[in-house]
């Protein structure tokens, strides 16, 4: 019996019955990683002894058998969330060798729930990218076709879960960095509403947009992870104090009478025909399960990418100012302190990070602030209002997660604008602060690549998107398919 193929729910059941130990679950993943990660390259760092020691401590304490939500379950962590004593480099040369000195809020939550913190997953440097090609430590490969990208920026987390190298993983989503790789690798990925999950201990990219969220094999596992991750934290001033519902309890309520909104602006020319067919099939399936479909309009959709790339880069240029060779990371000495900053940052950041820092600095600079940054914030208001109006007519919005399936490594590497446009369906949720989940809804014929369905919900209404996702998942078999590795 190979434990690594189980879902969290299946593994928890075995652990509770004493049919396996946390050590065996952890060892099973380590063996799997040893066997296939040479092909996937999903992990940047692993410490088998430390992971097994954590598992042994859990086995001794008995938390795997009691009611703890993740007792004995190993989880992989994207390389930008601090885990005390483990490296945290955001896949960047500028943080090479950095060791975290504290736990992020979500890591405290995972430890409290009995999870084993397994290892660090690959990503685009500082979460800037849609393909994980911008990692300083090499490319992660899509488990369904090793010549293709896994999506990004949380590509390592998505590939690890889809390749059965982890039961679940954490990622972060600033413009689609959880949902798009989940879609392209064929697993479940959820971006919580802004403020639902604390970012304390997450290395910041764009602070008005960033959220931490889970990757899992099923929607029910996703709900379980959200029960652990969500909640108020006084260390993050954007964390909302609203109580956290029991996401698992809501899963089985079905979709009868639920209103599904289809934004006419999202079903556009140029979308991959197989993607569109799969998503339309999913909509019909939900209709047959009792949901009502209403056409809605999000009229400012066409402006979202432009707004996003001004706001996200402006915030990034400010957030990444802290990497200056003084308190952490690499330092390149210079003639004076200004020269040291310049040389350190010039040597430490990769091409995409440099490009975005330059764009963001320009958008905030004297004389251009009103024309770029302020205007983008005003159009952001229009985009947010589009969602508010739409959610008066419907309970959830259904879209493709990405207009296309996984593309070939290198295909878009030299055309940043083309790469940016692949985020078109996901960035609206970050700009509007709403929640969204991606789950498998089909495959292309040849090559066989996963297609993702995106379910968007009202702010703080993760319950409803999980319920829609779970209802669809129960009626289909897509989530049971696994790549051959």
């Amino acid at each position: 019996m190979s434990l690594h193929t189980l879902t969290i729910h299946q593994l928890r059941e075995k652990l509770r019955r004493g049919e396996c130990s946390a050590r065996e679950a952890t060892q099973s993943l380590l063996d799997r990683i040893q066997g296939i990660d040479g092909k996937l390259k999903a992990y940047l760092w692993l410490n088998p002894e430390d992971a097994l020691a954590q598992a042994d401590a859990i086995d001794r304490s008995g938390v795997a058998r009691d009611g703890k939500l993740l007792g004995g379950v190993p989880i992989a962590i994207k390389d930008l969330i601090n885990v005390e004593g483990q490296p945290c480099a955001c896949a960047s040369k500028i943080l090479k060798g950095h060791t975290s000195v504290y736990d992020a809020f979500v890591i405290q939550r995972l430890r409290d729930a009995g999870a084993v913190l397994l290892g660090r997953t690959n990503m685009d440097e500082f979460a800037m990218g849609s393909s994980t090609e911008n990692s300083s430590w090499g490319i992660t490969h899509n488990p369904w076709d090793l010549e293709r990208i896994p999506g990004g920026s949380s590509g390592g987390s998505a590939a690890a879960v889809a390749g059965d190298e982890a039961f679940a993983a954490l990622g972060s989503d600033t413009g689609g960095s959880i949902r798009q790789p989940a879609a392209l690798c064929g697993c479940v990925g959820l971006k919580p509403s802004y403020g639902r999950v604390s970012r304390y201990g997450l290395v910041a990219f764009a602070s008005s947009l960033d959220q931490i969220g889970p990757f899992t094999k099923t929607v029910a596992d996703c709900a379980l992870m959200m029960r652990v991750l969500a909640g108020h934290d006084r260390c993050d001033s954007t964390s909302v104090p609203q109580p956290v519902p029991d996401y698992t309890a809501a899963l089985n309520k079905g979709v009868k009478g639920l209103r599904i909104g289809l934004p006419k602006e999202y079903f556009i020319d140029g979308m991959d025909r197989e993607v569109e067919a799969a998503v339309r099939g999913a909509i019909q399936r939900l209709q047959s399960l009792g949901a009502e479909v209403v056409e809605i309009s999000l009229p400012h959709t066409d402006y979202a990418v432009a707004v996003y790339y001004l706001i996200a880069t402006a915030e990034a240029s400010a957030n990444l100012a802290r990497f200056d060779g003084v308190r952490y990371g690499a330092r390149v000495t210079g003639e004076d302190v200004i020269d040291m900053y310049g040389k350190t940052r010039g040597a430490g950041f990769g091409p995409e990070v440099k490009r975005r820092i330059i764009l963001g600095t320009y958008a905030l600079s004297a004389g251009y602030y009103d024309a770029y940054y302020l205007r983008a914030q005003k159009v952001r208001t229009l985009i947010r209002q589009d969602f508010e109006k739409a959610f008066q007519q419907c309970d959830v919005i259904l879209t493709p997660t990405s207009p296309e399936v996984a593309f070939r490594i290198g295909e878009k590497a030299d055309d940043p604008l083309k790469m940016y446009l692949s985020d078109i369906f996901t960035i609206g949720a970050n700009l509007g602060g709403i929640c969204g989940v991606s789950l498998p809804c089909g495959f292309t014929k040849s090559p066989r690549l996963p297609i993702g369905l995106q379910v968007l919900g009202k702010p703080l209404d993760e319950e409803t998107i999980l319920r829609v996702g779970h209802t669809y998942e129960q009626a289909t078999e897509w989530h049971k398919e696994r790549p051959t590795l």
Binding site: G195, V337, R345, F349, L374, T381, R384, P416
Partner: protein, 97 residues
Amino acid sequence: MSENTSTFDISYVAHLARMHLTDAEKAKISAQLKDILTYVEKLNELDVSHVEPTAHATPLSNVFRKDEVRPSIDREKVLQNAPEQARDLFIVPKIVE
């Protein structure tokens, strides 16, 4: 915005960002940013004169807490990742002559 993009001075912006770029990087990033800045000009199609800006999407404002002493990270730990440190301090090049 069109005039703005034509006067885009990458050396000046790189200096503002305190980030050295090679000549090859300057040429490449300038060319790519010209495309991106042309693309974002589409925001000028909209009349936003009566629209309030959105800085972030949470309904929260003025989040206060009690000013009370809480434990923080040990000084030794804070300094452990520094490129250069001594006597409980970060060491930087001389700033004032």
